[in-house]
Each structure stands twice: as structure tokens, then as C-alpha cells.
């Protein structure tokens, strides 16, 4: 089965993890219109390319971000969330 590399625990079978959804920072809430807010809540990108995803290593309770080529299903890198330097929002072009 697939290997996912936790930035702290190292490479592990993907069974040890919980998928946490697409990384999508909340829009500036008061400024967003109802329509923009609904788009954030309900719509997800399905385009091929680079996905940024939240993943959780269950045995150790570690949250991190994985960047994945979702066409080839290859995990390119994983790293801890850094509030001072958060990942870019949105899908990137195919790497």
C-alpha cells in the first residue's frame, strides 16, 4: 500500500493516516459576500495538478500538509503547517 511520509515520524503505510481534506484557508470572512462564502464552503477544486492536502498521523497525533501530484498520485513533499509562512492557497499547475 502507499507510503506517506510524515515530516516527524517518517515514511509509514498510508493506513496509519487520516486524510484531512484539501488545504483551503478561510477567506476574509466579514469581507466575503454570501456567494463567495458559499463557494468556499461547498465547492472544491477537481482539476488535475498539484494538490495541497491536510493529513494526520493517527498514532502520534501529528497534522501536516502533503503536496501531491494528483494525476500520477505521487506525494512530492510533506511539511508541518507554519503559521508564519502558510502554504499558498489553491491548486498549482501540474509540476
Amino acid at each position: 500500500m502507499k507510503i506517506m511520509t510524515c515530516p516527524i515520524n517518517g515514511p509509514r503505510p498510508v493506513q496509519e493516516f487520516v486524510y484531512g481534506g484539501e488545504y483551503r484557508p478561510m477567506p476574509d470572512e466579514p469581507a466575503a459576500s454570501d456567494a463567495q462564502w458559499a463557494d468556499y464552503i461547498f465547492n472544491r477544486s477537481g482539476e488535475p495538478g498539484l494538490s495541497r492536502e491536510w493529513w494526520y498521523h493517527a498514532p502520534s497525533g501529528t497534522w501536516f500538509i502533503a503536496e501531491r501530484d494528483n494525476v500520477k498520485d505521487v506525494v512530492l513533499k510533506t511539511y508541518l503547517f507554519d503559521r508564519a509562512n502558510p502554504p499558498r492557497a489553491g491548486k498549482g499547475a501540474t509540476p
Binding site: I3, I41, Y56, G61, D73
Partner: protein, 969 residues
């Protein structure tokens, strides 16, 4: 039985003549040796027919002897679908062929062959429709005829161990290229595991070079070199069943599975010899030349007495020489190639006085009576377009046909690994084009057929794997040549009378493919599903390649354009007990579990937890037991184990602010020593969990969650803490504390003597929290009202929780205490009209619909779901969760949860909870109703299982103690 076909001892044979084996087949006594497979032992004893085909019940015998066909499938009273060609014969076994009625020889279903005209592929889609009423009858007949072995429903479960394993390089195949690759990688320092599905290593070196003793010497050298490397292990009888992500390979041996994680894979599984297609090409005596050679070289069995060899490559010539070397009279070589064999094998065959017919092919085999074997072959010339001149046929007497007209790489796992293959017109075979990182191919599967080239190709692959792993960096890698060309582009010959088989497993004939394509199944995957080619136990190993050629020709496309059906695990059938293995089903117990067990608890599973549903009492029904528990709580005192609830500790300067962002309510103003109901929504405003938050101190809070949401709520809190960058510490305390809920009018009287806290109503009011001791152990007390009676929820560190529970039970004895389970708790809370999240709410329920609006405090800067709730609030509410009753006099059939509310034939709502209330003596429940029909007093109808409609009425909640006086005592 006919005379024995066993040869005198042959060099390199796999049998141990010192260990005879006795068994029966179809009731008759047979013998063999240790090292025989069931088929080789039977064939040695003179048995030609080993099975009956799937649909037409035609006699079948040895064909590939490599598990590329399943002509010989047996049951032995315990196991079924034993593939006799590759299963070691067992002393004392009683084998029978599957798929017969009345035994193999007298199979009553052999008449199906005569009716084959009416049973083309897909016939069951087209017949038996009229009359429709008879279709179930035909369906049953077809299903029972369509099975293979029988399953014993009482078979004891086999718990075979599974294991994990790791290596640097996994080499699949221990033939010349595989061994060569394994040795090269091991010499470079990799830890190498080389697996082979056969009982011994060697691959083609163990059967294909019988007429060249030097080849045996090469095998010995390779095995000696391998044995000298401690970091190389060869595992025989080990099938690489499937390739999974990141180089994870399922290895199956002896019924157990090993999950091998390797860092690089070398595929060296070789190639499967392909048959020629002609009339009666499926009967006993017609076999692949490699199958005949396996019989001969591995098991020292004469495959036949006077075979005709039909070939288009050097392998066929080698086979003919091999047969001749042990005294078999080769009736001739039929070479599809007009120019014949270019190598010196041609000379050697002529020197052995074997006639060669160039540019000819077998048009049909002439069967013996009863179809058990053949007596001649009709051979016709091939013209330049590959068409047979059937008027110019020559009948050659023979008792067998050995076919060597082509090969198809055993490349299933290569595809699974993401390899891209391309069809080589030069070699008429799919060969690897690009391999993903860490994946390498060598030998016949790579299109390399000459022995010396295979050794070089293996070495290249092994060194490449080592280089990929950074273990070695040779400046140049050896390069091998593909070829020689060993596959004929179209060894497939139509016969007007049919019985030219493409797929032996499924009895698919050439004409079936032609008809199917005419009917529009013109894509290889569609053709597969309609005709079922490639869907039998051999999964198309000797059917797919020819079918692709046929379809390509019919569609006037290239083979490359036509493509091959998708390859999926497993390569060979894998026993269910190897897959099931020793299953791991984690379960959780609370610290009070032994009490529940010894008090008659009937358990239910709540996630991983075992929880008492109720406590059984002798002579009482389930409903009576639950009612007794409910009554005890209402009138005396009861206690339920709530240790499964989620418990989360939150501390730090931002703890209160954090909780206000997570939950819909206010918590920064919660007084120390108090609790408050906590409602959680997701971003879209849907209710996802609820519980209670207690303030333990200025910076310390304690939150409970529902049992099923404990892990996910904690996980989400962890994520939000990171994203919001708040200064706090979270602890998942779910398993750290046992919990018990003591409820009923006598609860205080039971509790007070055991605790050092003042449990009086003034000192410890409703919704309060205190910390102290219970029966001399630390305890945290929360006054809660879920079941609507005076209640204390007590949380105690897990290792003294049982002690606390026992103390309460003991003290409660004088007051008639009863333990109560989940079922009673459900009834009790329903009587109070309390909703349970995810039972009375669903994936779309917002707090407005569920009557939880009061828990939203929107004068906060932010909480999860706030914006969505503001948007939702502006709209009219579509539905509401209402309380209903069926009326005190109702004694009819009870609706169940999820039964629908029907109005004028339309679904307008559904029941979420329902029970007969022992306290109120009437059936009550909660249901979703459209907002305009939610007013108290509104009548409605519920449709129950058999379509009956039950009348109900919306009532005011709570049903019991509407002013909540009892829980606030």
C-alpha cells in the same frame, strides 16, 4: 489403467523416487512420488483425461502444466479448486475432478458439447426470457451448472498468519535472468529476495534445454553463486500475487501471505507459451511444447508416444530434439514459417531424422472416440497472406500435438507497477517501453529469449536496481539483445465446424469472438465482458494474446492499437484463507467491563467499544429488562457506564477563547466549578457533535463529546489549535478516565456518604462541577440532566474507576440501585425530548431545525459555522425536529427509526427515534416534519414495514417533567 508412462531416472528430475505416494483419483487407486504434482502423477499412470471443460464438458488433459490453464481442477473432500498441475500430490488424498455430474468418465453433462450450437457466448442474455415466470428456474439451473468446486459451509476457519517483510531488491522469477539479476544486485550489497512460484528454481533451465546438458551446468553455477551470498535468499513455492503502491508486493506461499515492502523490483517472470488455434485444439494430447517438456524433464513422464510438433520458433525444435532423445517418435515438425528455423537446430533435427513441413499449419486435430485424446492431425499449407489452403490437407497420424508457436510475456505485475508496454512488430510481442522509478524487467518478459542474452539482461537489471538504490555506480551497464523472434503473428485458423478454442477455461471458441464483434462488442474490454475470455481462473494467460490478434484483424487495426485487457491482482488464484488470514479486530473495554460481563450484560458494539445494551435477567424478555432499568432510574436510582464518552482536557491562557471559536456558545464567562451544554457545528452550519464543557480552573476546561465523535473532535481541535496559533494544551483523555452516571431520586443519598464533597443541592447545584474523592479515589463530578433525573456523572482515573463503580453499587444496594444500559438510556432521554446528534440529526441538520438555536451565542467575534448560520437564519426553515406520540391507547405495530412520514403519497419526513415509554405508558418519538406541519397537535401518518399507515400527532416536548424539576433537585 494404462501402462505407466514414467521414465527411468532423468538428470535434474524433481521427483524423489525413494518416497512413493499413494492416493486415489475418481475412486481409483493411483501412485506417484514425492515431488510429483497431482497431474504429473496421474499422467505418469496413463491418465489422459484430467477434467471436463466448463461449459461443454469436453475432456481435457495436461496443457501447460504451469497454471496457465486450469484443465485439471480437483477437490479432495476438504479443499476445492485444487489446481492439480501445480499442487504437490498428497499421500492418502482422495481427489475428484470438479464440474462433473456422475464422475469424470461418465459425466452426464458431456451432452452439452452436442448442444454447443445453442450455447454460444452470451446465450443466457438472449434466451429464457419467455415465459418470464420461468426465468428464476432457469437462473437456478444455470447457476448450479456454472460453478466449479463445491464449498463446505461447515469448514472450520483457518487462521493463517500474515507477515510483513522488507528487502532492498525483490526479484520475481528464479529463471536464468532472475537468478542473474539477484546475484548481481546481491554482489553490489543489496539485500535481495528472489521468489519463484515453482517448487524449484531454474525457470526454462529446468525444462526447455533437455537436449543440451550444458544448460543444466549453467543452472548449477547460478545456484552455487546464489548460495554463496548471505544477503540473497531464494524462496520457491512463492507466488508474487500482486503489485501495490510504492513497491509493496503480496507474496503467497503455502496458503499464507507475506506483505513485502521492497525498494526496487526486478520483474523476471518469463513468458507464457501461447497455443495455436485450430479445431479440437483443446483435447487431451494437444499441449504446449513447454507443458510436455515440463512433464518430461521435471517429473520424468512421457507426455505422449508419437507427437506432431507445430512451431514457429527455436523452442519447438529444441522440444522435438528433447522428445527424440528419450525415444519418443516425433511424427514431424510443422513449421508455420516458410523458411523454417535459421539456427543450427534445423540441422540437428534433420540429423535426428525428423521430417519438417515448412510453411504449414495444423488445421484440425482428429479425435479418438469419446474425444479422450487424438489420433491424427490435418496439416495444410499456409499462403503468404496467412490463409490455409484447406483443400490441400495432409493427415498425419499422431497421439499428441506439441505447440510452440509463440510467447506472451508474463507481464501482469509489470502493468500493475505502472509499466508501459509497446507492441513490437519485430518480435510480435508486447515488450516494456518505460518503467517507473525502481522497476526493472529482464529476460523473456523483456523480449530477451536467447539463453546467453537472458543472463546478460538479468545482470543488467540487477546492477540497475543496485544503482537506483545508490549501492553501486558502474560506469557502464551490460546490454542484451532482444529476440530471436519466437512468436508467430497469427497462428489462428478458422474451421467451419467450430471447436477451435481461444479460451479453455471459459470454453470460448474462435467463432464466438467473430460473432461478438459482429454484434458490436468491438473494444477489447467489451469483448472480454461479453464473451468472458480471460475471465476464468487462468485470467487469460493463454487466451488474451490470441484474442487481441483476432480482434485486431477483425477491426483491421494493429495489435498495439487494439490493446490488452487491464491486468489486476492476483496473478494466480489465491486461497481465501491466505487473504483472510488472522484478522485483527480491535475492541475496547471500559474499566468496568468485568462487572458488566458478570451481571448478564448483553453487549453492543459502539465503534470499537463494547457497551452494555441492557442487562439480561432470567425469564425476562429484552423489553422487560429495559423497562425495569428505566423504572429504576425514575423511581429509585440507576447507574450507567459512560466511560466511552469522549473527554478532552484543554488548558492554557487561550483555552476559553479557543472553546468559544470551536463551539457555538460562550465559555469565557463560564464560572469555575460550572458546566454548560456545548454544541459544535461544521463550517457549513451542520450540527456535528454536542457535549458538556466544565470549567476546572481559570485556564483549564474539560469537554465531553459523543462516543463516536471522540477521535474526530480531538483531531479537529488539534488542527484548529495549529491553524489559529493559540496558546493552549490539548489532551485526549477519553481512555484515561472511567465514567459513570448515577441517576435517580436517591442518587444524592447513595453518593454523599462516599464522597468528601458537599453534594447538597445548595452546595452543588444543577450544572455544577466539583473535584474531590469518591471512595478514597480522586473523582470529578458533573451534575447533568440527560436522562431527566437527579444525576451525577463521575469521572475517575481509569485504574481506580472499577473501585469507584463497585463502591457506588454497594452503597446503592440499600436503595435498589440497578445498572442500566444504552437502550434504557435512550428511552430515558427520549422521554425528556433530548435529541442525540447523528441519530436525531443527519448530515444536513442545522441547529434551527433541531431546536438547538438557543445554544448559539452569535455575539462572539467568530465561531465555526457562524457565517453559514447567519445566512441560513435569513431563510425560512424547511423542516423541524418535533416530538410526537402515537397515543396512550395505541397497541398496534410499532414504527421503527427511519420509517417515513407520508402525506398524499409523498415523503414529507421521517422518524428518528421511537420507543414505548414505560413512564408515560405510550409510544413516543422524535421525527422530522416540514416546518408548516410542525405545530403541536398536527396529525400525521407513518408508513411502516408492510405498508401499513400508523397515525401520530405532534406533541409538546419534553414528554416527561416538562419543567425539568427532577434533575435540578
Amino acid at each position: 489403467m494404462s501402462e505407466s508412462k514414467r521414465l527411468p531416472p532423468q538428470f535434474g528430475e524433481w521427483i524423489d523416487r525413494g518416497s512413493p505416494v499413494r492416493f486415489t483419483f475418481e475412486g481409483a487407486a493411483c501412485e506417484g512420488f514425492a515431488g510429483d504434482t497431482v497431474s504429473s502423477a496421474l499422467h505418469a499412470g496413463g491418465a489422459l483425461m484430467l477434467g471436463r471443460s466448463f461449459k461443454y464438458h469436453r475432456p481435457r488433459g495436461v496443457h501447460s502444466l504451469a497454471n496457465h490453464d486450469v484443465n485439471a481442477m480437483f477437490e479432495d473432500g476438504t479443499d476445492t479448486n485444487i489446481r492439480a498441475d501445480v499442487t504437490a500430490v498428497r499421500d492418502g488424498a482422495e481427489y475428484r475432478a470438479v464440474n462433473t455430474v456422475g464422475g469424470l468418465a461418465n459425466d452426464r453433462l458431456r451432452i452439452m458439447d452436442a448442444f454447443s450450437r445453442f450455447l454460444p457466448v452470451g446465450f443466457y442474455y438472449k434466451t429464457f426470457h419467455r415465459p418470464m415466470s420461468l426465468f428464476p428456474f432457469w437462473e437456478r439451473q444455470l447457476r448450479s451448472a456454472a460453478g466449479l468446486g463445491k464449498i463446505d459451509g461447515n469448514h472450520k476457519r483457518n487462521r493463517t498468519p500474515k507477515r510483513y517483510d522488507w528487502c532492498d531488491v525483490l526479484v520475481i522469477g528464479a529463471g536464468p535472468s532472475g537468478l542473474s539479476a539477484a546475484i548481481a544486485a546481491a554482489r553490489a550489497g543489496a539485500s535481495v529476495v528472489c521468489v519463484d512460484e515453482n517448487a524449484r528454481p531454474g525457470g526454462t533451465l529446468s525444462y526447455a534445454y533437455g537436449s543440451e546438458p550444458a544448460a543444466q551446468g549453467r543452472l548449477d553455477e547460478l545456484l552455487k553463486a546464489a548460495a554463496s551470498l548471505p544477503n540473497l535468499s531464494i524462496r520457491c513455492n512463492t507466488l508474487a500475487a500482486g503489485y501495490y503502491a510504492d513497491h509493496w508486493v503480496a507474496l503467497v506461499d503455502g496458503g499464507k501471505m507475506t506483505k513485502m515492502r521492497t525498494r526496487a523490483v526486478v520483474f523476471a517472470q518469463g513468458a507464457a507459451e501461447q497455443p495455436s488455434v485450430f479445431r479440437h485444439n483443446d483435447l487431451p494430447g494437444v499441449m504446449l511444447a513447454s507443458g510436455a517438456q515440463r512433464l518430461l524433464r521435471r517429473y520424468s513422464v512421457r507426455p505422449f508416444e508419437s507427437p506432431l510438433v507445430v512451431t514457429a520458433n527455436a523452442d519447438g525444435y529444441r522440444a522435438a530434439l528433447d522428445f527424440a532423445s528419450i525415444g519418443i517418435h516425433v511424427a514431424g515438425i510443422v513449421d508455420l514459417r516458410p523458411d523454417g528455423e535459421p539456427s543450427d537446430l534445423d540441422e540437428r533435427v534433420k540429423a535426428a531424422h525428423i521430417t519438417i513441413h515448412h510453411g504449414q499449419a495444423v488445421y484440425e486435430a482428429v479425435p479418438r472416440d469419446g474425444l479422450v485424446g487424438i489420433k491424427a492431425a490435418v496439416v495444410c499449407p499456409l499462403d503468404k497472406q496467412g490463409e490455409l489452403d484447406t483443400d490441400d490437407g495432409l493427415t498425419i497420424a499422431c497421439d499428441g500435438i506439441a505447440m510452440s508457436v509463440g510467447w506472451a510475456g508474463a507481464d501482469g505485475l509489470l502493468y500493475q507497477a505502472g509499466g508501459r508496454m509497446k507492441y513490437s512488430d519485430e518480435f510480435e510481442q508486447f515488450v516494456p517501453e518505460t518503467m517507473p522509478a525502481g522497476v526493472f524487467a529482464a529476460g523473456r518478459v523483456n523480449g530477451v529469449f536467447a539463453l546467453d542474452q537472458k543472463l546478460i539482461d538479468g545482470e543488467r537489471a540487477g546492477l540497475s536496481a543496485a544503482k537506483y538504490l545508490g549501492l553501486s555506480s558502474p560506469s557502464t551497464l551490460p546490454e542484451a539483445r532482444r529476440g530471436p523472434r519466437s512468436t508467430h503473428p497469427y497462428p489462428i485458423f478458422y474451421h467451419p465446424k467450430g471447436k477451435a478454442f481461444i479460451d479453455l477455461d471459459e470454453d470460448v471458441q474462435l467463432k464466438d469472438l467473430v460473432n461478438a464483434e459482429t454484434e458490436g462488442f468491438d473494444n477489447i474490454e467489451l469483448l472480454k465482458r461479453y464473451t468472458t475470455f480471460g475471465m476464468g481462473p487462468s485470467q487469460g494467460k493463454i487466451a488474451n494474446a490470441n484474442t487481441v490478434r483476432v480482434l485486431a484483424r477483425l477491426r483491421k487495426q494493429s495489435v498495439g492499437e487494439t490493446g490488452v485487457p487491464t491486468s489486476r491482482p492476483f496473478w494466480h488464484p489465491v486461497r481465501m484463507d491466505a487473504l483472510a488470514g488472522r484478522g485483527f479486530h480491535p475492541h475496547r473495554h471500559t474499566p468496568m467491563h468485568s462487572f458488566h460481563e458478570s451481571h448478564g450484560a448483553v453487549f453492543m458494539l459502539a465503534g470499537d467499544w463494547q457497551r452494555p445494551a441492557y442487562y439480561a435477567r432470567p425469564g425476562r424478555s429484552r423489553e422487560e429488562c429495559i423497562t425495569t432499568e428505566v423504572e429504576a432510574v425514575r423511581h429509585q436510582v440507576g447507574m450507567i457506564d459512560v466511560g466511552t464518552l469522549g473527554k478532552i482536557e484543554i488548558s492554557g491562557p487561550d483555552a476559553g477563547a479557543f472553546l468559544e471559536r470551536i463551539y457555538t456558545g460562550r465559555f469565557t464567562n463560564l464560572k469555575v466549578g460550572s458546566t454548560r451544554y456545548a454544541l459544535m457545528c461544521d463550517e457549513s452550519g451542520v450540527v456535528i457533535d454536542d457535549g458538556v464543557v466544565a470549567r476546572l480552573g481559570e485556564d483549564r476546561f474539560y469537554a465531553t463529546t459523543t462516543t463516536s465523535a471522540a477521535a474526530s473532535v480531538y483531531r479537529e481541535m488539534q488542527r484548529y489549535a495549529i491553524v489559529w496559533g493559540m496558546n493552549l494544551t490539548l489532551v485526549n483523555a477519553t481512555g484515561l478516565y472511567g465514567g459513570m452516571n448515577l441517576a435517580g431520586p436517591f442518587a444524592r443519598r447513595v453518593l454523599q456518604p462516599l464522597t468528601d464533597i458537599d453534594a447538597s443541592e445548595t452546595a452543588f447545584p444543577y450544572m455544577g462541577m466539583r473535584e474531590g474523592t469518591l471512595a478514597d479515589v480522586p473523582a470529578r463530578f458533573l451534575r447533568v440532566g440527560f436522562v431527566g433525573e437527579l444525576g451525577y456523572e463521575v469521572h475517575v482515573p481509569a485504574n481506580c474507576a472499577k473501585h469507584a463503580w463497585d463502591a457506588l453499587v454497594s452503597a446503592g444496594g440499600a436503595f435498589g440501585i440497578r445498572p442500566f444500559g444504552v437502550e434504557a438510556q435512550r428511552v430515558l432521554r427520549l422521554e425528556k425530548g433530548h435529541a442525540i446528534v447523528s441519530q436525531d440529526t443527519d448530515g444536513l441538520t442545522n441547529p434551527f431545525e433541531a431546536g438547538m438555536e438557543w445554544a448559539i451565542k452569535d455575539d462572539k467575534p467568530f465561531f465555526i459555522g457562524q457565517r453559514s448560520l447567519r445566512i441560513i437564519k435569513k431563510r425560512p426553515i424547511a423542516r423541524r425536529l418535533v416530538a410526537f406520540s402515537l397515543g396512550a391507547g395505541y397497541h398496534g405495530n410499532m414504527p421503527k427509526e427511519c420509517h417515513l412520514v407520508i402525506d398524499h403519497g409523498k415523503i414529507i419526513g421521517r422518524v428518528t427515534s421511537i420507543a414505548i415509554s414505560p413512564t408515560l405508558h405510550e409510544p413516543i418519538g422524535l421525527a422530522f416534519m416540514p416546518a408548516e406541519k410542525a405545530a403541536v397537535g398536527t396529525p400525521f401518518s407513518i408508513r411502516i414495514d408492510d405498508g401499513e399507515m400508523v397515525a401520530a400527532r405532534v406533541v409538546k416536548a419534553p414528554f416527561y417533567d416538562p419543567h425539568a424539576a427532577r434533575q435540578k433537585m
